[in-house]
Symmetry: C2
Subunit: 369 residues, 2 copies
């Protein structure tokens, strides 16, 4: 299913009928012609990046794109989850309209999850839809957010509340770009890598337990395997349930708690991956309390998350605030909070839980310092 | 193809595979159970209306919906094209999130084109997509904007530049609601009715020439025929080209000139239908100058537009401003303005035209008072 190319590059296909596309994984992909072949060519391209990533890679990407487009424009967004809002999204529309870009313009998202989500949503909406390509530069974006077509911005009352399902034309994961990633961001990305183990692949979880230090050290073979396996699992899930009518929700393991942490502390205080790391501990504990997984699994997962450099203790927030924040989660139905919980190791399910039990679980993993 | 129901109600189907839906046309539809059967029922509904329409019909609609939903919420937007922007769209998200509405919530657009476009775009984006129903209360919305799934808001640099293709679950055209429509709005709606003649149906054009005064007098049988025939033509076009890759663009006859008038004078100075009325005169003239239609067709169409109560003289704007405004049109490609022009009476085509000729056409129909 996955084709290794001559240069060691791997392609993971996402099968979505006329919206199918490939995730290309390799090193030094800006120089790899095959990686760019077949993408839509048109008069105009816009590289959307942020003030941190653009100085590192925008010029090189622009040079590559100038072979395919007559004009290659750029816009730099402010960096960080705190800026994932309408005002930042509008900077993309301003750039497109200010330059007179037509509805064949191709957008390139060069950055992490925030840049990818904003660029994808801008592509979904600009003139009711233009093509876009993901060029994720963080581990989190390479293994999760750039794949699968979920795009959004935040609303003051909830994360990712305004968005679209809109698939990219291709995802280009250049592992060499991870060399410039700060260690804290690398750890945040590992949260989404670890996620795939408990929900879908017990063997991958065991592999991570022996390779987590290699990943933090950016060991190339370990990194390539982790990104490829993560993308394969995500491709398998998204291919079955593009618009999250069921199965796809399992990818939100740890996210109900995690989104509450992000919104409760203010976007950007904890990185998304950090909130998900802690959120997975809480979700595992809740699963154990409901008898869905062995109690010993909780310290096992907690230890791996900790070794990845992620927080495992929840921040202090009043119980009512936790519940209020979790109730606006997109998985809620008619006011009931629904969690992605485990069903043994390597499987997940969606279900509700009594408020009192949920608060008990949070209390058991809240720092008392 | 179109089924007349026992009550004289007509259904015009729009065939778009899993996104297919019906346009229901009749009088007093709030009281007609069959009209509402089969729509998604869920815990929450939100009626989106504006400060002009809500006092007339929101309570009656809420009463009807309370039979299908546990909570029926309402939000009133400011009235008018000048408010078709992100700030107004965000009022809908604020209402949804403030009330804790989940992703099964059904939105109901109760109003004219602006309310319908904003509500549809809000439905497309809220939690990445919730169902919505169009309840158009203006003639323009009943015959055009509520049908076909084009949703959008304006950007300061161009009309409808940010939006989505997102189909409603049903369009409910209650002809009785037109009784409260101000005459100026009725005339504006007639512009979009008239449009269908030149581009698709010479016979309908001739019918309009004998019935335009009946329509302005809201004669029920004439009105029912005009709305039905307009919806049939639109359904036929949209069914073949949902995302405007080709044919659908013909529905934009008069719109390249018209959008420039709206943007150039400031949204809301001329009603959309007024700008389209004048825009059709210019598009017919340009068609005649290019030898695509007989010169005598221009005064013929001009007369009908005038009888509908619409302006036929373009406002005074510098030529460079006209061209600049038309170049940001969504149909432009690589900087070339593309017009929907006639191909005889009852057929349309897309093509470019020399700037000098376009300016000459505008000058020939600009008031010199």
């Amino acid at each position: 299913m996955n084709l290794a190319t001559s240069s060691g590059t791997v392609r993971v296909p996402i099968a979505l009928n006329e919206r199918s596309y490939d995730i290309v994984i390799g090193s030094g992909l800006l120089a790899d012609d095959a990686c760019w072949d077949g993408l839509p060519a048109s008069a105009d391209a816009l590289i959307v990046s942020n003030t941190t990533v653009a100085p590192l890679y925008a010029q090189a990407l622009a040079t590559r794109l100038s072979q395919r487009h007559r004009r290659v424009l750029q816009v730099q967004l402010p960096d960080g989850e705190a800026h994932k809002d309408w005002a930042t999204l509008n900077l993309v529309f301003d750039a497109l309209l200010g330059a007179g870009c037509d509805r064949k313009t191709v957008l390139y998202a060069l950055g992490g999850g925030v840049v990818g989500d904003i660029t994808g949503f801008a592509a979904a909406c600009y003139m009711r839809g233009v093509p876009f390509v993901q060029v994720p530069t963080t581990l989190l974006a390479q293994v999760d957010s750039s794949v699968g077509g979920k795009t959004a911005v935040n609303h003051p009352l909830g994360k990712n509340m305004v968005g679209a399902f809109y698939q990219p034309a291709r995802v280009i994961c250049d592992l060499a770009m991870l060399n410039t990633l700060p260690p804290r961001e690398l750890s945040a990305g590992l949260a989404e890598v670890i996620k795939y183990g408990p929900i879908a692949d017990a063997e991958f979880l065991a592999w991570l337990e022996t390779h987590v230090e290699d990943l933090r050290a950016l060991e190339p073979r370990a990194l390539a395997h982790a990104v490829q396996r993560s993308c394969e699992i995500k491709a398998w899930v998204v291919g079955q349930d593009e618009r999250e009518n069921g199965l796809r929700a399992i990818l939100n393991f740890g996210h109900t708690f995690g989104h509450a942490i992000e919104a409760g502390l203010g976007y950007g205080q904890w990185l998304h991956g950090e909130a998900i790391g802690c959120g997975m501990v809480l979700a595992a504990e809740l699963s154990a309390r409901l008898g869905l997984v062995a109690p010993a699994f909780v310290p096992r997962l907690t230890q791996l998350i900790q070794r990845a450099g992620l927080p495992v203790q929840a921040p202090v927030m009043p119980g009512a605030r936790w519940l209020e924040l979790m109730r606006v989660d997109k998985k809620s139905e008619a006011g009931e909070i629904r969690f992605v919980l485990l069903d043994g190791v390597g499987r997940a399910q969606m279900r509700g839980a009594p408020d009192a039990l949920v608060l008990d679980v949070i209390a058991a993993h809240t720092s008392t310092d």
